[in-house]
């Protein structure tokens, strides 16, 4: 009998462990918030389903009318991450995207939702892809302190914009009209436009210099925008950030434009 009860106990414990592991995958952790996928599902059906679809595959009823297309969560490839290209995002990356929205897309800022609700949505979005149960997110990229912008830095950035072939898509003037621009598609084959840097100081994954630096390191997965992680040094990325800032005709802070004009 003791053997039998031991076996039952072992089975019970393994079921419990499996339950816990599965349960963990149904959660999100953002700061001290713990998101719950079950609650997230109800919120998803209220706010998200009409674009991202019932199955999270980006095929909601409004998807046909949107450009760029809504994200397909089943692929677990996300534009805005703090993790290297090809790795899963952190929960906080998804949370930040929901909070921030994605400029120049159909995705609005969901900041008016409760912090808890946004964490719940993160937990539910993660259930659409098994990757979140099979893999761990990548290690977040390091962002070193920003050197002050200077004429030299902008000049170097301008040269990198040329040598790194940024212009092929974003165009010589950063207008998003480079020779390869018309050929671009997202990972699902839908046409996608390269970002027009002259449209203003607002970007897809955040508007600070640090956000732009991070975008250069991580790339925007699911889009043609690659990672420049190994291709450039930290200083070179800051040079690129400083240069790209000068392309914006609506650069509100103006500090870089002044340097350039000197």
């Amino acid at each position: 009998m003791s053997n039998k009860s031991g076996l039952i106990r072992r089975v019970a414990i393994s079921i419990l462990i499996a339950w816990n592991v599965a349960g963990y995958a149904q959660e999100s952790h953002v700061g001290n918030l713990v998101g719950n996928a079950r609650r997230g599902k109800a919120l998803y059906q209220r706010y998200c389903i009409f674009c991202h679809g019932q199955y999270g595959d980006g095929r909601g009823e409004s998807a046909a009318y949107l450009d760029p297309k809504p994200r397909d969560f089943t692929k677990a490839a996300f534009k805005c991450r703090s993790t290297p290209s090809g790795s899963l995002p952190l929960d906080s990356d998804l949370y930040d995207t929901i909070t921030r929205g994605i400029h120049a897309s159909g995705m609005p800022s969901w900041k008016p939702l409760l912090r808890q609700e946004r964490a719940d949505l993160v937990a539910y979005v993660k259930t659409f892809s098994p990757s979140f149960q099979e893999e761990r997110p990548g290690a977040p990229v390091e962002i070193p302190p920003e050197p002050p912008p200077s004429t030299e830095s902008i000049q170097r950035g301008s040269e990198l914009f040329q040598s790194m072939n940024c212009w092929s898509c974003h165009g010589k003037d950063g207008r998003g009209n480079g020779p390869s621009a018309v050929s671009l598609t997202d990972s699902k084959g839908n046409p996608i436009k390269p970002f027009d840097f002259t449209s203003g100081p607002t970007f897809k994954c955040g508007n600070t210099d640090r956000d732009m630096y991070r975008d250069l390191v991580t790339g925007l997965d699911g889009t043609p925008m690659p990672s420049f992680a190994s291709a450039t040094t930290a200083d070179q990325r800051w040079d690129l950030v400083h240069y790209i800032r000068t392309l914006s005709t609506a650069n509100r802070s103006g500090h870089i434009l002044q340097v350039k004009g000197r």
């Binding site: 389903i49 009823e61 120049a104 897309s105 609005p108 800022s109 900041k111 008016p112 607002t202």
Partner: protein, 447 residues
């Protein structure tokens, strides 16, 4: 002249005017523009959730760089209509009627009167959206069963100086009420109104129709990114929203401030305060004894102040609302300010308090259950001869709305409501309490 006011007074004192609140809105024009369903902006349309309130406060903009009309198909025309076919039954336990029907001279008696049947509440058209980035507009003609009115029409400069804390609106607009009269979830005859928004004491001659009416003027407003902190200050002409300058030339001021907090495991909790201070004329310049519109003078002041809260307990939420009202003694007694000697002996400025609790249970975006209890209490009558409780009212309502379709194109709700109101001393002959009951069921749809 103050048509609106008389309508409201009639509504409050005698009841039985239908369709006055048939101008609430969920706006499929926005849903179509952004591909979002009604449920994104409405807890249950037409009642907004915080996301929808933020969208509205942003000048009908999501702020994702896709708001300007240039991003729309050139054929897009931001217009929607809403209407409500329904069946209803109304009962008044002490309706004043002629004792011999058709004979005005036969004398008024009280009868229990019941009416019922299929009915319509008119059609709302709403054209709203952005003319350009950060310029929003709203035009709302209402086709009633016998008239066409312009419920609202305004333009707003949004995010002035790049700040969401500075927005300027001008035109005829709904005041930034604690809970929007325009977005009441209820449609029935006695339960749809927030009586406190329209209440004036018995015998009062204040021409102000109440904070529940759209007003003509300008409004400065602002809000935080998540809309947890909001303010608005409006300066409006003392015409109670009526066009053509019918009353006087003074201006009233309305202000509303609220602050919300996120409480773990419960949800959003919001508190706010509001105040309306205004002036109303007590007599007019006349020509041949006929008052000249816009020449109202002998302006006397009145105010409505209060506080409110909106409390969430998961999928339940409650509004609590308190109002304190004051009308000047001349307004309260309906005496021109230049004839102080005709004031009744011991006349005082009327003072009253009121409030309501409205609860919603919103288990899914498809269902909302509504209950409301509202009261007003006179604390001081203008004329000491009046019964102290005259004007007090108690009303409760229960109902639900079911949204069988969830779409980014249109909205349809099935609604059933029951409402009960008791007006103290309002029976025309016996001066006993007048009790009215209202039942409504029907479709509420917009496209």
């Amino acid at each position: 002249m103050p048509i609106r006011k008389s309508i409201v007074l009639e509504f409050l004192m005698l009841g039985a005017l239908l369709g006055i609140t048939e101008n609430a809105h969920c706006i499929p024009a926005f849903a179509r523009k952004y591909g979002l369903p009604c449920s994104a902006c409405h807890e249950a349309w037409p009642m907004l959730n915080n996301f929808g309130q933020t969208f509205k406060d942003n000048g009908y903009q999501l702020g994702n760089g896709r708001d300007a009309p240039i991003y729309q198909d050139p054929g897009y025309w931001p217009i929607m209509f809403r209407t409500t076919p329904f069946w209803h039954r109304e009962n008044n336990n002490r309706q004043g009627v002629d004792s011999i029907p058709g004979s005005a001279a036969s004398g008024l008696i009280e009868r229990n009167v019941t009416t019922s049947g299929f009915d319509l509440g008119g059609v709302d058209f709403i054209a709203a959206g952005t003319l350009y980035k950060n310029i929003s507009v709203f035009v709302q003609p209402f086709i009633g069963n016998s008239s066409v009115t312009l419920s609202q029409a305004w333009a707003r400069l949004d995010n002035l100086a790049g700040s969401r804390w500075l927005n300027l609106k001008m035109g005829k607009f709904e005041l930034d009420e604690p809970i929007s009269q325009e977005r009441s979830l209820l449609l029935n005859n006695t339960g749809a109104l927030y009586y406190n928004y329209f209440f004036n004491p018995p015998g009062d001659r204040n021409l102000f129709g109440g904070i529940g009416l759209p007003q003509l003027g300008i409004e400065v407003s602002g809000h935080s990114a998540n809309d947890y902190t909001r303010y608005s200050v409006a300066m409006v002409s003392s015409n109670s929203g009526a066009t053509g300058l019918p009353t006087n030339q003074t201006y009233d001021v309305y202000a509303n401030v609220n602050q919300a907090f996120e409480v773990p495991r419960l949800g959003m909790q919001q508190v706010g305060v509001y105040a309306y201070w205004g002036q109303s004329p007590t007599y007019f310049q006349t020509a041949g004894g006929t008052p000249l519109p816009g020449t109202g003078t002998g302006n006397e002041s009145f105010y409505r102040v209060g506080a409110y809260g909106h409390w969430f307990v998961k999928r339940f939420d409650f509004y609590t609302f308190y109002l304190h009202g004051y009308d000047n003694v001349f307004l309260g007694n309906g005496v021109p300010a230049n004839q102080a000697s005709t004031l009744p002996v011991g006349a005082l400025a009327p003072v009253w308090n009121g409030g309501f609790v409205e609860g919603h249970y919103n288990p899914t975006p498809r269902w909302v259950f509504i209950s409301k209890y509202e009261l007003t209490r006179m604390s001081r009558q203008a004329n000491p001869l009046l019964p102290p409780k005259l004007g007090n009212l108690d009303t409760w309502t229960v109902g639900y709305r079911w949204y069988p379709i969830m779409s980014t194109r249109a909205g349809l709700a099935w609604t059933q409501e029951y409402s009960h109101i008791a007006n103290v001393g309002a029976a025309p002959v016996s001066h006993l309490d007048e009790i009215r009951d209202s039942y409504l069921m029907g479709f509420d749809f917009d496209f």
